[in-house]
Symmetry: C2
């Protein structure tokens, strides 16, 4: 492959001139610019960005480390990150990992020299020191951390507020015995949603009952399997808060198959407002979160932090929004827990 030297030789100029042309230096004559561009095109010269960043110390690339998600939430976060990064002409190095904070630091290390900073979803509170270490090497913005940190900025989703508002809504609809399907252990989102549920109950003077808290894993199969557990509870709950929409839809489908009416016999609520939540029957009352906005905001925060005098310790929380549909009875009114953030969606494919 042609290097800058090949182009310089072939064009009869110095490498410095070629470099200047490629960096848009105003010092170069129009005619030499033309010449260099022509030769470069002929040799099919592609500048080596690794070599460039070695000397400039900038890679125009952000590292992204996410757990191994596999649903809309994941792709929306990525889209948000990618769009916001692209708007600044930055690229993305992506890595998934599996719940281990040692793996997290290994990924960060392996990105050294190839990224200017990192957007990461930390696995759990145990990774706090790891994050502190990483952020000594480059600016980090955390997505939805489950812990407090003064080492870097973070952008979170209002899991707690959303779950609390939703539970309160169920109570207002007249439901008394509200069960919850929890998410996987040690999952930050799952823990916060559980906390919101418990606090809403205790606010209303309802004792939280361990037998009403059932373990799920955030997949629709788990919602389906849990159906039997729900129906076994005595006295039977009159509402179930499944802590994500996939489980809610799996559960609702199984209940209907058992002849249980939703919402008349049991109300069902979910969380996330996935794109199909309004299209199941009955349509799902849930909490809308802005995954796209989460990713986009994290990137914008990173740029703010990296600028002169960047704070590097901003903690932002994106609002969650109660979306009342038909699966819980009550009136069908969209309620906004906080201001709604619009996001720049775009067209798609299969």
């Amino acid at each position: 492959m042609a290097t800058i030297r090949d182009v310089a030789r072939e064009a009869g100029v110095s490498t410095a001139t070629v470099s200047r042309v490629y960096n848009g230096s105003s010092l170069v004559t129009e005619s030499t610019t033309q010449l260099v561009m022509e030769v470069a095109a002929r040799l099919d010269y592609w500048p080596n960005s690794a070599a460039r960043s070695l000397i400039t110390n900038r890679t125009y690339t952000l590292g992204v480390v996410l757990p191994d998600l596999f649903n809309e939430f994941f792709s929306e976060i990525i889209r948000g990150i990618d769009h916001a990064a692209r708007a600044r002409r930055y690229q993305i190095i992506l890595s998934c990992f599996h719940d281990d904070s040692r793996e997290l630091i290994a990924m960060a290390k392996s990105m050294r020299g190839r990224i200017d900073g990192l957007i990461a979803m930390a696995p759990d509170a145990g990774s706090a020191k790891v994050i502190a270490n990483i952020s000594r090497h480059f600016p980090v913005v955390l997505l939805n951390p489950g812990f407090q940190t003064k080492d870097c900025s973070a952008v979170s989703i209002a899991n707690y507020d959303g779950a609390r508002a939703l539970t309160r809504h169920l109570l207002e609809c007249g439901h008394q015995r509200i069960a919850i399907v929890k998410g996987p252990a040690r999952n930050v989102d799952a823990e916060e949603r559980l906390r919101g549920y418990r606090d809403a109950l205790s606010d209303a003077g309802v004792n939280s009952d361990p037998s009403m808290e059932i373990l799920g894993d955030f997949r629709q199969e788990s919602g389906e399997q849990i159906c039997a557990d729900i129906l076994r509870i005595r006295p039977r709950p009159d509402a179930v808060f499944a802590t994500n929409d996939y489980m809610a839809i799996g559960l609702q489908s199984a209940l209907l198959a058992h002849g249980v009416r939703v919402p008349e016999d049991i109300a069902i609520a979910g969380f996330d407002d996935i794109s199909l939540a309004g299209y199941v029957n009955p349509s799902l009352t849930t909490v809308g979160i802005d995954a796209y906005g989460l990713g986009a905001k994290a990137v914008r925060r990173w740029f703010s932090d990296s600028g002169a005098g960047g704070a590097r310790t901003q903690q932002e929380i994106l609002p969650a929004r109660l979306i009342v549909r038909h699966s819980c009875g009550g009136s069908r009114i969209d309620r906004i827990s906080e201001e709604h953030q619009s996001n720049e969606q775009s067209g798609g494919s299969s």
Copy 2:
């Protein structure tokens, strides 16, 4: 930040020795290895991989360029790519783009020096020369190209076969007037599915009728909006093949809201087998595709091509699988159009 020189100086050895330690050279004494590791840890030394790849000419990174998808298909492909790459200790640079082949080559160029090869989903047949150009710089594997190429390998999904099998199934169920909801113009998947539908009809001696071909955009809103168009067709179709599940579910939901029974009045079929396809009511007859496998296979193909004597022009097609559920009537039997490929799914999060 500490460099290899800092570590060498502090440890009283040469940079070559430090380098040898980090590259696992067997030539280094146990004691010096210990010493170097100790000093490196104390200085918090992270090797700069850009500098390393400048001389080794290897980045252990694959570029991934995908259109701006926003659903399960996208995240499954990424997961497949990431897992297969990680198994070889490779990383991923990800970029989304918007339908423009000039944008495609710009991304490829900007990755020069930072990747060893590329996995790309080409926008359309017009990008064939662009792909040819790129593959002169590093090995490329194409995902689902809509065109023939001898410049690189490709892995595709059997859109045509799947659509044809599905349409044949609708005919076998006794449906005569089968409408189709097409995907966006110039979309490769959409075109192939349409072709399969048309060929299945003509195989059965049914004239394809332009008024039965309705334009959609692969989003559930479009399925919903199209409901009115479907009901306006005279005589009314007795089945609708929506070329992806999102549109099928949107349409089904709208039809039910209009009091049209599915499948008694109109049968509905989809494509993709998204995770919720079995959980809507009635459950959706569709065609299952293996997006995870598509990504994983592309990466494996890339490694095969890059090895000694790699062919670099292999064309693979992943089978599509007819999945008969309840939305089209007929018997509920899972039929396999070709052998079923298992894929290594793993646990997840919100």
